[in-house]
Symmetry: C2
Subunit: 217 residues, 2 copies
């Protein structure tokens, strides 16, 4: 399958790299065509890996992953172009995080979310919020953390969520460990989990953790 991954940070490179290892064709998109990080990544990876602009990555991908930070996600997706996203599954991994005086801040928060903003701004895309609740190393290697810990998806399209589950399955997440929280409005809850994730990372002293939802019955 052909994937477009937007964002050349740790998250984008981790996801794109694993997808290439899995045999997929991946275009890693960045703001400019000559991004040295993206070029180096494409050179080091297999021939299935390409570097390009956001627009080139979105155009090339049958499924597009938004792996830029929440602060610049809408700009990146506008650069990618609505026409290159129409009808496609758009997996949104971003968190609307910034730091102010050492304290994490979220914007938007509570009355809106990046997942919803992206869906509103690109009504032709089938947005699925996923993967924003774990460290980038855990995203593609859930076995780093013991136990039957969970991921979450939400979005308006059931078919898009199923395609996302298949992608997560490729990454090593069995379907039973991917909980569907309903429509894209649940992205608020997933993004508002980030402060607890940050507190846990600080308390545990590392990022190799995740939560397992335990329930009666």
């Amino acid at each position: 399958m052909r994937y477009g991954v937007l964002g050349t940070g740790e998250v984008g490179r981790a996801l794109a790299g694993r997808l290439v290892e899995l045999g997929h064709e991946v275009t890693l998109g960045s703001r400019t065509a000559d991004n040295p990080v993206a070029r180096e990544w494409a050179t080091a990876a297999a021939s299935r890996a390409r570097a390009g602009t956001f627009a080139e990555a979105a155009e090339a991908g049958e499924l597009v992953i938004n792996a830029v930070s929440g602060q610049v996600a809408l700009d990146a997706l506008r650069a990618a172009g609505a026409a290159h996203l129409d009808g496609k599954v758009l997996v949104d991994v971003c968190n609307p995080l910034s730091f102010e005086g050492g304290l994490p801040r979220l914007d938007p928060v509570e009355s809106d979310s990046m997942g919803e903003r992206i869906q509103r701004a690109f009504p032709g895309a089938r947005v699925v919020k996923a993967l924003n609740t774990v460290d980038f190393r855990v995203m593609t290697d859930p076995g780093r953390v013991p136990g039957e810990h969970h991921l979450f998806v939400c979005g308006e399209s059931t078919a898009a969520k199923e395609q996302t589950r298949a992608l997560l399955g490729d990454f090593g997440w069995p379907a039973a460990r991917v909980l569907d929280l309903g429509g894209i409005g649940a992205a608020r809850a997933l993004e508002m989990y980030l402060p607890l994730w940050l507190q846990l990372a600080r308390a545990l002293g590392h990022e190799d953790f995740n939560i397992e939802v335990r329930q009666a019955g």
Copy 2:
């Protein structure tokens, strides 16, 4: 030990009831001295149970539990009286939740929290945020949910957190399953977990669940 429990809702009655069962003396406090729910509770419970005003409950308790809703917590604590809270451990269970058009809303959120507001308003109290991340039935009966699932505490006083851990231990939570997230500022993260809790309750169809933090190593 003598406990003051503020709030006659499900949470307050569950906590107060369990504390009485455990042999403690408990005053269940409400806005008025003649609250019929509190009186009925005190009549039905053992002789160690009393009903009273917020002020009477706070005065009677060596440890005070705030189990009213976030929307009225500061009013209830003002009625309880700073003098009755000074120097005491004040376990804050509340979530700043309201519903607008069926959607959960939090106020304060992200740049502040009820835990912090209460600590600021009552600097003489030793506030510990705890128990706000599980259903009231799970609070005093963690065995309802299988697995080594976790609670969280935060607050400025290490001694107060240790006293709270002892209380949680009485409720059936081993110390290793109570994660200390640091100062009271972490109450933001604990309160912002609520939307995910609500989404999970909806997705699972019940409230008998909790999260277990799984980590490498």
